[in-house]
Symmetry: D2
Subunit: 118 residues, 4 copies
């Protein structure tokens, strides 16, 4: 049987974050609880971008390079802390995602698209 | 010049999430603001795991399969909504992460580990 | 000079929360960092209520007693942890609120409603 | 029967926040979903204060006036948005808190401190 293709690959990012922490002697700060609080901080910064905008105004963010860059940075910050947290917890991110998607598919079954017409 | 190796690859996951939404006709719910609120909800569930634990107790989560599975699920839920949000925003996740890591490296320069002794 | 009327009074609630913790020997869990994580958890539960609703659907929550009770509970949970956090930090909630409102009034000056016409 | 003493009184603050919004024509921004996102933003700023600190370092925040003022401001910001959200939802904050405390007392009964010895 062929190896399953991963849904997400984070090994290079996890290694880069480990190296970044090592070079600055930041491992001692990177406890799961600290990273959880840092993640919360970044989620707050991302939420701030959307707080007073309508859906239409959000759709237009892509037309404003400065604001879109800011949006990209905040999404990246959330992702960096989340991946770092998972990494510190020695959690297999792809396996976690794959298993959760399978559970979601059971919990929320898709309507049978090709059901025969009555 | 060789193509740069990505730090993170999410294309398969983004496609799986798109298909999951399509099959359930959920695209109309997946506005950025809705996904931001859903992301906040999942971040809350992840935070709850850590709220009353010491660092030592967090380190022991890996020894308890039921609790570690729960931890994996909550990390996955945060990641699924974050990747879906980025996808809906048509944001290049790898580019966002790469650019932010470069900015972080400038903002927090690493001490010169191999500086010659005086 | 007459004593300033408080904007918010929380003394009875702070005492009730202290007694609740004392009776269960929970003070040892109520560190600021633990309470911050618990607050994040409750904020997540509150956000979940709103995540897939339109503004119109949110406005109709008051018409559904079961859902409105759930909303009240989640607002209360956030408030209970926030007041407990402030209390453990020995922070004067009314003074904090009063000072912040004054700063906000300077930062965002109100347009002069009764400015004479030109 | 004597009127029950409130656990928390927020009427003056709710009125001040309403006036603040009215003077700036901000009511149209103060939808529950917008306020929920703004609350998330402020919770993130509060979490950032604690993210890299040990419990001992948190305890010392009170000794540093500038940092303690910053802490007070962030607690106030969370509270202001939470009270404003409750107010816009026409929710009785004291009743919500009182009912939730009663439910918590049932869910987590206190050990009988004065139980007679066997």
């Amino acid at each position: 049987m062929a190896a399953e293709t991963p849904l997400i690959e984070t090994a290079a990012l996890e290694a880069a974050l480990q190296r970044f922490a090592d070079e600055r002697d930041w491992q001692r700060y990177h406890t799961p609880r600290n990273l959880m609080l840092a993640l919360t901080g970044e989620v707050g910064e991302l939420a701030e971008i959307f707080q007073w905008l309508t859906d239409e105004e959000v759709a237009q963010l892509a037309d404003d390079p400065a604001r879109f860059t800011h949006l990209q940075e905040e999404v990246a910050d959330v992702l960096l802390y989340l991946v770092r947290l998972a990494s510190v917890l020695k959690l297999d991110i792809n396996a976690a995602v794959r298993d959760k998607l399978q559970k979601n598919a059971i919990k929320y079954p898709a309507p049978a698209a090709d059901a025969p017409a009555a």
